[in-house]
């Protein structure tokens, strides 16, 4: 681990880069929780629905902890959570839309959730003290997400017919944007690497590829040859696009504003 940094002492550009990084992680967690929640009642079995509900709670709890890190940058976490326009959300593109079928949710569980975990693993080993103290518990809670996703991925990949085809479609659709996000190496990310907040792009990308290589090979997708999306949005630290308006309204809690407490 690098020497611990003081977020309050960062220069403007480093501070903006760290804020962008925290927001893309927090927003992705929140949107992933929404995507899981969409399938609590539509899962293939009661047991899977309960597990999906548990993952939903995990993701929302993790998002809350990540948003809270913004305090150290003198940014109001409450405003970040509840008052941003949809176009400002920095969640990964793979989560912009509801999973249209169970295979797509399994791909989210296996690929998108894993991409976020790889980024958090790297973040937890970096120079931000809060990441080192808060993220390991999240990673421990993520372990069963990884196991469940892998089990379902193997199961669907081993079938013939529609489920297999849907899994291939979801996998090939998600991977380019995930690889662009995990392997981001634009100036703000370079700043974070130089500050020791997160590991180098090549290392993160190698970790992600190692994590999913054997699974995607089951549907004849070679993760080592997938090219990253080129539609990078440097302002938000994600690829182009945004969550649907309905999703952002849920992420912000628009329907529950009257219930918000300080």
């Amino acid at each position: 681990m690098s020497d611990v940094i003081d977020p309050a002492a960062l220069g403007d550009e480093d501070r903006a880069a760290l804020q962008r990084l925290i927001l893309t992680l927090a927003d992705s967690k929140r949107l992933l929780g929404i995507r899981y929640s969409d399938w609590i009642l539509g899962s293939p079995s009661v047991e899977t629905g309960i597990a999906t509900s548990s993952m939903t709670q995990d993701e929302w709890g993790h998002a809350r902890l990540l948003y809270a890190m913004l305090k150290s940058l003198n940014t109001d976490p409450r405003a970040a959570e509840h008052d941003r326009a949809t176009s400002e959300y920095a969640s990964i593109a793979a989560l912009d839309e509801e999973a249209p079928d169970w295979a797509a949710l399994v791909a989210m569980m296996t690929l998108a959730d894993r991409a976020i975990t790889v980024m958090l693993e790297s973040f937890s080993r970096g120079s931000l003290e809060q990441a080192g103290s808060r993220v390991p518990k999240m990673l421990a809670e993520e372990e069963f997400h990884t196991s469940l996703g892998a089990a379902w991925y193997r199961r669907l990949a081993g079938t013939e017919g529609e489920a297999h085809e849907l899994l291939v479609r979801a996998t090939t659709s998600m991977l380019p944007t995930l690889i662009a996000w995990v392997g981001a190496d634009d100036p703000p990310m370079k700043r974070m690497v130089e500050a020791g907040v997160i590991e180098a792009a090549g290392d993160r990308l190698a970790a992600f590829r190692d994590a999913v290589r054997d699974l995607t090979a089951l549907v004849d997708v070679d993760v080592d040859t997938v090219e990253p999306s080129t539609d990078w949005d440097g302002a938000r630290g994600r690829t182009a696009g945004q969550p649907s308006e309905e999703s952002a309204a849920r992420a912000r809690g628009d329907l529950n504003r009257a219930l918000l407490v300080d």
Binding site: P44, S45, E47, T48, I50, A51, S53, S54, F144, S147, L148, A151, W152, R155, T159
Partner: protein
């Protein structure tokens, strides 16, 4: 897709009896463990395990659940 029935056993504290607390349908040991943990998460268990129901060998040949199930399976 084939599902396998796993019975779930747990004890609340060290020294407590291991009790049958329910069952889950899963497709392998890994998913059975996950489903047991998430389904029966209302308490913090000292120990929890899952057993594939077909592996349970009833000792008493009475009206117990597992003896009945074994008889039904053998008919």
């Amino acid at each position: 897709m084939r599902e396998i029935l796993y019975d779930v056993f747990a004890r609340k504290d060290r020294g407590d009896p291991l009790s049958h607390i329910g069952y889950v349908d899963a497709f392998d040991e890994e998913t059975a463990k996950i489903y047991a943990l998430t389904t029966y998460s209302e308490q913090t268990w000292f120990e929890m395990c899952v057993v594939e129901r077909s592996s349970i060998i009833p000792v008493t040949d009475g009206e117990g659940l597992f003896a009945q199930l074994r008889r039904a399976r053998n008919e």
